[in-house]
Symmetry: C2
DNA sequence: CGTCGAAACGGACCCACGGTCCGGATTGTA
DNA sequence: TACAATCCGGACCGTGGGTCCGTTTCGACG
């Protein structure tokens, strides 16, 4: 089974859809008023094409999200400090969370759309699983810190898209301030010395 | 304008709807497969009645949620320690979060339904605002703790219904363990002494 | 108890949206 | 040029939240 590659009109259309969706989500007020039909129309494509390429709404959102996330993922896995592997655990945890936060600030609508569309919950998505296990692994290297699994979840929960939107959404909290607050919070969680230290 | 009270068939039906909805959400697998029509049917009532009484789906969910929450709210505002006002701040924060967690464990489906239906986000709901400001006020009494606003959000985020469902949902994490983990996490956040001390 | 206006009922109806289907157009190969 | 294989696109469908309005019930008053 030679795994024949797709026809070129297929790849062209796929790209068109991604770009159109990206633009629409960037412009819209709230993610749920970008319909699949809108996206198809904006991409100059039929709905059938759109669903064939991505399966369903969640699939499209995920594809978009993953694409945007790719550079960060690479920076985390093989890049230089502070995101890369050569960073001391505590600093790296802070850097990871800061990166997630910045990503959500820069892609508010998209992140929001994905987290609320996600069939079931955001916790089904594999990219969440990636972030979580990454974070957990780093937390595990910090002496005196227990429950790394739950802690990773709890820290990531502080960067949930709707919370970010709620705080930063109407300019009530500046990007800078929010990053500082998250950093401070993270520090607190990690700072407590070992139980009897 | 004497604010005439509602007719008794109205209050009877309202009650019937609340009870029916409660039962349906308790039984169902996932909240989104309880439709408004289902609820109306189970309550022996027309859809019109249901929407007239509660406005929309979110309104119904909120009413249910508030009703369930009432006893806890009272315990927090005027009850004895550890939930009541006479508790030292740190212990009270832990107690508050534990109460929220237990509530979500006991009302998983309902909390889930509300958080995902919520027009906009869970952060619009007034009961969230109540919890948040309560928690923030208590945090403010803890010396050396800054950013009480964000901290309150972040701590509450660790009790989000979908996270609770994700962890406790399939019996992977026991109730007891989850409470312990949250307590531990809370302790860490609060434990860091004042900056120089 | 009979009357009557206001309030509530209920289910047929509407419509937006995600998702499917299939006849026809495109692609690439021989 | 011929012919599969693949893909296209928009008409179509089912579902579910929300509305509308003719009918019924309530309860105040005589």
């Amino acid at each position: 089974m030679p795994e024949r590659r797709p026809r070129k009109d297929a790849v062209r259309n796929r790209k068109a859809v991604l770009e159109a969706a990206d633009a629409l989500f960037a412009r819209c007020e709230s993610p749920e008023d970008v319909t699949m039909a809108d996206i198809a129309a904006a991409a100059g494509v039929g709905k059938g094409t759109l669903f064939r390429a991505f399966g369903d709404r969640t699939g499209l959102l995920r594809a978009l999200y993953e694409a945007r996330l790719e550079p960060i993922r690479e920076a985390v896995e093989t890049g230089p400090p502070p995101l890369g592997p050569a960073t001391p655990p505590q600093d790296r945890v802070a850097a990871l969370l800061d990166a997630v936060l910045c990503f959500k600030l820069d892609n508010r609508r998209l992140a929001l759309a994905l987290e609320e569309s996600a069939s079931g919950s955001p916790y089904q998505a594999e990219h969440y699983e990636r972030w979580h296990s990454m974070l957990q692994a780093v937390l595990e290297q910090i002496p005196g810190l227990t429950d790394s699994d739950f802690t990773a979840h709890a820290l990531l929960a502080a960067t949930r898209a709707d919370l970010v939107e709620h705080l930063a959404g109407e300019g009530l909290v500046s990007r800078k301030r929010m990053r500082a607050q998250l950093a401070n919070f993270t520090t607190r969680v990690l700072a407590s010395g070992p139980p009897q230290g």
